[in-house]
């Protein structure tokens, strides 16, 4: 390590204040803190002594995401083998999948690093590890066959519009990864609107995702029957839990997402209140819609001439299909953009669950509603916090009056 230390000390002199290369200080600082702990000391109060600095927090999220990456790669290979009707084995499938995942990952990180470094140099702030998590999350929300230039544009949009124009990590109101996902959803709808099948197959290979089946049924039936009737993919409840279904790279295996959730909760990074309350909100609204379904036969709440099959999706299916769990665990709990009060977190999470089902079920144009629900609630999180704080102040005033 002495050798590395020397390199950084030598190059560090080049980027000191006043030297011609001083504009590159953020780049040097970022590279330096990857290898060595910082020697910077806080000079003004208040201080909090804690090992959980932003770098560690972010790294733990990345660690929680790694299983999703590996399974995502395996799933790409598995579905491809299924479509091509060949046998490849677990290792072969995973390697095949990584040939799709790695380029997306590289495109994301290159775009993210360019944007982050540019802003760090212009604004003279330090490169923040926040972009590591954003860039690690973005590929997991992408379909495997997404064009790389679209990933590049989407990531740049997410980092710049979602984060940097608000002042960088910690001051953004929208989750950057979700911002880029939403941008790509509306900008390039042919690739990732969520109704076409997301698997790498031979030319012309297509089919419907679990969400698109009840959204556009040929003839009316309950969602469970429609899933069972689909012969192309196995959309049984058990299989949707294990994740061998087409979808975004990271969203399909629910077990690994739950594992990630427990890991994040155990490390104290993500808020369990948000996760629990969003599932509660989802279950509540899904049950409500199941009830509503009895009233759709007579002509109200219909879509396309017959009752809306999305209303018959059971709460459990709602949790398992699409990217609800992934969004709740990794996106909604982002500490910056979610609510900061505990009461606020319950409300924030609950409304994410409610909005997810509403967007999924009522509007057939958007089969996937999780990311829109989270973005909307990102917007309202400060408002929720404000009222929670105000209510607390009023309560205490009343108590002491």
């Amino acid at each position: 390590m002495n050798f590395l230390r020397k390199i950084f000390e030598e190059t560090g002199k080049l980027v000191e204040k006043g030297k011609p290369l001083s504009w590159a200080y953020p780049v040097w600082e970022a590279a330096d803190t990857i290898f060595f702990s910082t020697n910077k000391q806080t000079s003004k109060g208040p201080h909090i002594r804690d090992n959980m600095d932003i770098k560690r927090t972010m790294f733990f999220v990345v660690i929680a995401l790694i299983p999703c990456y590996i399974f995502g790669a395996y799933n790409i290979g598995y579905l491809n083998a299924l479509a091509m009707e060949i046998e490849r084995g677990i290792v072969g499938n995973t390697i095949f999948g990584f040939t799709y995942v790695i380029p997306i990952l590289i495109a994301t990180f290159v775009a993210g690093a360019i944007c982050e470094l540019t802003f760090a140099i212009i604004r003279k702030h330090e490169v923040n590890e926040g972009f590591l998590v954003s860039c690690a999350l973005i590929p997991l929300t992408m379909p495997p066959d997404v064009p790389l230039w679209q990933v590049f544009i989407g990531t740049s949009f997410g980092i710049i519009i979602g984060k940097e124009i608000f002042g960088g990590v910690g001051t953004n109101i929208f989750n950057p990864a979700l911002t880029s996902r939403a941008f790509m959803y509306f900008a390039f709808p042919t690739k990732i609107s969520g109704d076409k099948v997301w698997a790498v197959g031979p030319d012309g290979y297509s089919g419907a995702t679990a969400l698109a089946i009840p959204a556009n049924p040929v003839e009316y039936d309950t969602a469970s029957n429609l899933f069972a009737a689909n012969t192309q993919f196995d959309y049984s409840t058990v299989n949707m839990f294990w994740g061998l279904i087409p979808g975004s790279i990271g969203e399909t295996n629910k077990l690994l997402i739950l594992f990630g959730a427990f890991f994040l909760i155990y490390c104290g990074i993500a808020s369990w209140r948000i996760m629990v309350s969003s599932v509660l909100g989802l279950v509540f609204t899904a049950l409500l819609f199941n009830l509503l379904n009895y009233f759709t036969v007579d002509g109200i709440l219909q879509s396309g001439g017959f009752p809306n099959a999305m209303l018959t999706i059971t709460p459990l299916q709602h949790i398992l299909i699409g990217s609800f769990l992934f969004g709740t665990v990794f996106m909604a709990t982002e500490p910056v953009t979610s609510s900061h009060t505990n009461t606020g977190r319950w409300i924030y999470g609950f409304l994410i669950g409610v909005l997810t089902v509403i967007i999924r079920s009522i509007n057939p144009a958007y089969p996937e509603g999780v990311f829109l629900a989270i973005l909307i609630m990102n917007m309202f999180a400060p408002l929720i916090d404000y009222y929670v704080v105000q209510a607390n102040i009023k309560m205490r005033l009343a108590r002491n009056a």
Partner: protein
């Protein structure tokens, strides 16, 4: 008064750059979103606004000493509305296709905040020649922004650049088929109104950066 001294130049150039009605005062956003889907629409809209704003400023400035302060809004509105009707009829007569595409947005020039704003803030206080220059500067500042926004929206959203002609527009350049075959896709978001907001926001950002304007925190 001399027409081209430094003060008159400032009256024209200020609203184009450092005091731009759209990017600095954030006026006239409604039409900036509505007519910027295609470049030719934005150009025709700019010409219409140049005509209406210059004429209304000059007319109101000429009669400013005869307008009682209490009814000035009504008088301003009737002058502007008459001018807009003239533009609307002219478009219908000579550029029928364009007038159909712009539809209600020509009529809605009446409610464009820039025009009322300039009449109230400038024309009623200055002589006709200055009022004319102010109208010219502000309408060109407005036009500059919507032309830039519509250029990017059309280029990346629809893949074409359309210039106005007598008919439905002359396609100057469109993205070649070979690009689409190679995997290029238009950014559909830009055709929608949120796309206009995003482009407009970026233009405002860049423009303020160059104009050196800092918003008070």
């Amino acid at each position: 008064m001399e027409l081209f001294n430094s003060e008159s130049k400032k009256i024209v150039s200020d609203p184009i750059n450092v005091n731009n009605p759209i990017s600095l005062q954030v006026l006239g956003i409604c039409s900036a979103l509505a007519v910027t889907i295609r470049l030719d629409q934005a150009i025709i809209m700019t010409l219409a606004v140049v005509f209406v704003l210059c004429s209304s400023n000059v007319i109101l400035s000429l009669i400013r000493n005869y307008i009682p302060a209490r009814v000035r809004i009504v008088i301003m509105l009737s002058v502007i509305a008459s001018l807009v009707s003239v533009v609307d009829e002219l478009l219908k007569a000579y550029l029928y296709d364009m007038s159909k595409q712009l539809s209600v947005f020509v009529g809605l020039i009446i409610t464009n905040c820039i025009i009322m704003g300039r009449a109230e803030a400038f024309a009623l206080k200055h002589g006709p020649s200055k009022a004319f220059l102010d109208g010219l500067g502000n309408s060109m500042g407005y036009g500059l922004i919507i032309i830039v926004v519509s250029f990017f929206r059309e280029l990346f959203g629809a893949g074409t650049i359309t210039l106005p002609d007598g008919g439905a527009g002359y396609v100057l350049w469109s993205i070649p088929e070979s690009w689409y075959a190679a995997g290029y896709e238009n950014i559909g978001l830009l055709v929608l109104s949120p796309g206009a907001f995003i482009i407009l926001g970026l233009v405002i950002w860049i423009q303020r950066e160059f104009a050196g304007v800092e918003e008070d925190a």
